[in-house]
Symmetry: C2
Subunit: 168 residues, 2 copies
DNA sequence: TATTGTTATACTCTATAACTATA
DNA sequence: TATAGTTATAGAGTATAACAATA
């Protein structure tokens, strides 16, 4: 039974919509982040690092579902800007523990502020309550799909986007 | 008033989440669409074409927020597979009216079916009601942000994703 | 002259394979 | 031998500029 009950949902495919909207946001993000010297994927990486507090590069790669080799270049750029720091894990010297620096935390904050304007443009059709709902749903989908192997691995590659979510 | 009330929303940035989830869906979409000879952007283009019913290439470019030059190659691929057809507009012979073929309509249907499995994997943390909510919000955001110049241009570059939305 | 579509080209993003060091 | 990280390289995606046809 490789095909689950996909009967009625045929007319409700979110994939293309998600792709389209993500593209719209990303195009605008590229623009608003230029003054900060950042690009969209930098923002995603910084967000994850803030949420996880510090993790190995492979853990980061797993969370972002990016190839490990691309993580290297990405972190190199962030390290050049002194936004993150790499340090050897004392337990396993093969590992690099990646963490946000103070400068990184600060810049991430500025970037999120800049992103607000970009998102306003794309989500203009949604009122504040709807945007909150959207955020909650996206948040749940994102964190839920990364939890499966959380208990098994102490490297903490789960609940990446969760920490920044709703804790008020 | 270039900076709207972006005070409290600082902790609710949907951008990175959207980017991340779209990536997850796209990665899986690439896999499930291979047997059909399609790629994610083909699916998006076919979806728009079905919704719009037929439009110029520039209209398509505007809807997808893609560069017009990339539309050419994209349509070439779809035309090779006989999924779309180009015909000169009788009113303005500079324009190519792009339309879905029967084969294209059929394959799109199959593709959507295949996508269901991919989306199930990414949205596993959401129940059916939540997925419907998510779809509705994404749909509203996507269509709302393309409506602005709808009344002015009869080329119909608006309401692209809307037609496929909720009409039950 | 302006617009639609096209081609050619360069730039960025991403993935694959081979290498170094640690375990 | 297996794993974490790195490097080099090739492929796909995307944007910029110049061109042909039509208005």
């Amino acid at each position: 039974m490789t095909s689950p009950p996909a009967a009625d949902r045929q007319s409700h495919r979110s994939g293309p919509l998600l792709d389209h909207l993500a593209r719209r946001v990303r195009l605008r993000a590229e623009t608003v982040l230029v003054p900060l010297g950042l690009r969209p994927r930098h923002l995603v990486a910084l967000t994850v690092l803030r949420a996880q507090g510090g993790c190995s590069q492979q853990s980061l790669a797993a969370t972002l579902e990016m190839d490990g080799t691309n993580i290297v270049g990405l972190l190199n750029e962030l390290e050049t800007g002194d936004l993150i720091a790499r340090r050897r894990s004392p337990e396993d010297r093969r590992r690099h523990i990646v963490e946000l620096t103070l400068a990184g935390t600060d810049l991430l904050c500025q970037a999120e502020c800049a992103m607000a304007a970009a998102e306003d443009e794309v989500f203009g059709a949604l009122d504040q309550a709807e945007r909150e709902s959207l955020y909650a749903l996206l948040s749940k989908a994102a964190t839920g799909s990364e939890i499966p192997c959380a208990a098994a691995d102490p490297t903490a590659e789960s609940a990446a986007f969760c920490a920044a979510a709703d804790h008020d």
